[in-house]
Subunit: 340 residues, 2 copies
């Protein structure tokens, strides 16, 4: 049963188990430093579908069905799926759920969606509202680029602070069923609140999201009375290199907390900065979803990482809000994954 | 602590209390049959803001702050807010949450959002993951019309099956704190799965959503071993008159269930069909939110309604999916509200 720990943190007493996980990505991601860890890589950016939006649905469905297979859980055993994406009206997720037929709670947390879906899954599984859940998120470079920025054919230049939307999806299957004997469980979770320090540049999402990440990390450490050194890894996703630098500075300046020794960022990890021309790194719901559901959970399963605080970060803007000269609200949700 | 009841239904043992609720609407809604029940009606469609999108945020914030005041709960006591809307990237909700500063879980369920936010709120409050939550949803005729259909100035004709997007918002505050003595509680909840019977006409959302509503209602009645006559009201939102007719037919044909004696629909209730020129009725996240958080919960508080199964219905399409010739997936989530 979930309990409150401090003002914002939820502590899980039944420790929902990570019984399966998988990541599916595109070609560019498969050529990056984590390429060998992904379950499935598509060389065709349409993934055999007729549009980039349908390709994104295909990616998310691939991650989900692969995770279920690895978990040895059938579709009928899933009592709720929490999923979201960046597309208008979240069609990347909802059209996949039409085929999968799970009870489905649609989420919108921008690039924080993987973390949000894990928090809600955790509460459902820990409390008994569901026995087995799916948490998933996806993004696709081509569907996002043409929706948020320019037609793909335009080929506009991007500033160095811009990030590259990841073509990818990730899925975690959680369970409270005693037959499973997974090493990795969700121990705690925190739902973040919106923070907006008046960043207005939609080509610098890292700067817009870093303040929210700092707030959530500081709140969690206070609530749980822990220090950065208590964790093997504090993993943000996806601040990129610009936002990561700002996060570390903000936490030092505002909270006197130094996470530099244990911090990494999914947007920094997924691409090779020198050769892959992604500027500040990867972004999109699929970035942190794919990194978490491959390299990170693999390392936890192998015991090389034992305590990972995963903090998904999202920029809650829209092209309309930008045209209306609004600043960019950021949000960050966190889950603490531990090995039992 | 939530328990599973049947295959899909969640049963709440601690009975989260409805400790506050409020609805804020626009001028047309205030002139309809339920006009006198809304907490706040704006005569200016911009609600004093500079754009229709900001006006929608204003509506949602008004519903939330009014509900908190009626609940005698301060902003700091809210441990999670669940909210969503129809705008791209859900900016109607996220920009309001920037000011309210609640821990915030963004949802996308199209017009089913009010029901989905109540289901998730119920699980959080029942399980102890939160003591007090906010569940909210909103829509605005002008922001929706120009995003989904045509520029407002165009004045295109609409077929009789089309619905009119409600300018409105609703909010429910739930609590597990024993100091409250509310009559009305959430007893059960069900998260629906996507159903798509290949309806492709975006001017007939009622037909697209009715199959999902039928599925959720039939599942709930099976899980709980109850009959339509066991309820004072089975309230869908927002099928409109076309969708309501189809729902009643579908349940008779497919499940041999007759809900005609206890059914009503928020989209049918909110406007006067003869004089308000809304064709099939109201729609939009704000429709069921505003009707539930005024007339319905008022009648429950007064004891005139004691057992209401509220089923929010959503059409999970986007303008892009329609252009790509996709059919329209529907979803429906339900909560059972009872008087103790």
């Amino acid at each position: 049963m979930p309990e409150r720990k401090g003002n914002y943190t939820i502590s899980f007493t039944n420790k929902p188990q990570v019984v399966g996980y998988a990541a599916a990505v595109g070609k560019k991601e498969s050529e990056g430093p984590l390429g060998s860890f992904f379950d499935k890589a598509f060389t065709d950016e349409l993934c055999g579908e007729k549009s980039f939006e349908k390709a994104e649905t295909h990616l998310q469905k691939t991650a989900i069905t692969t995770a279920l297979k690895k978990a040895k859980i059938t579709k009928n055993d899933i009592q709720c799926a929490f999923a979201g994406d960046l597309l208008n009206q979240c069609i990347g997720s909802s059209f996949g759920m039409r085929d999968l037929k799970f009870p489905f709670s649609g989420l919108y947390g921008a690039c924080s969606t993987m973390a949000l879906s894990l928090v809600l899954s955790g509460v459902f599984v820990d409390s008994g509202a569901a026995q087995n859940t799916v948490a998933a998120a996806s993004s696709h470079f081509c569907s996002a680029e043409r929706q948020y920025r320019y037609p793909l054919e335009y080929g506009g230049q991007r500033p160095q602070s811009a990030q590259w939307t990841v073509t990818g999806a990730g899925c975690v299957v959680l369970s409270n069923q005693p037959k499973h004997t997974s090493r990795t469980v969700i121990d705690r979770a925190i739902i973040g609140s919106v923070r907006d320090l008046n960043v207005t540049d939609p080509n610098n999402m890292g700067a817009a999201m870093a303040p929210a990440a700092a707030q959530t990390i500081a709140q969690f450490l206070t609530d749980t009375d822990t220090k950065p050194e208590d964790y093997d890894l504090i993993l943000t996703g996806d601040l990129g290199s610009t936002g990561s630098r700002l996060l570390i500075e903000l936490l030092k300046d505002e909270n006197n907390i130094d996470i530099s020794g244990v911090h990494n960022d999914c947007g920094v990890m997924i691409f090779e900065p020198e050769t892959q021309d992604v500027h500040s790194g990867g972004s999109g719901c699929g970035c942190s979803a794919a990194v978490l559901c491959s390299y990170i959970l693999d390392n936890m399963a192998a015991g090389r990482l034992k305590k990972v605080f995963f903090v998904g970060t999202g920029a809650l803007l829209s092209p309309t809000s930008t045209l209306q000269k609004e600043s960019i609200p950021g949000i960050a949700h966190g889950v603490l994954l531990i090995n039992q």
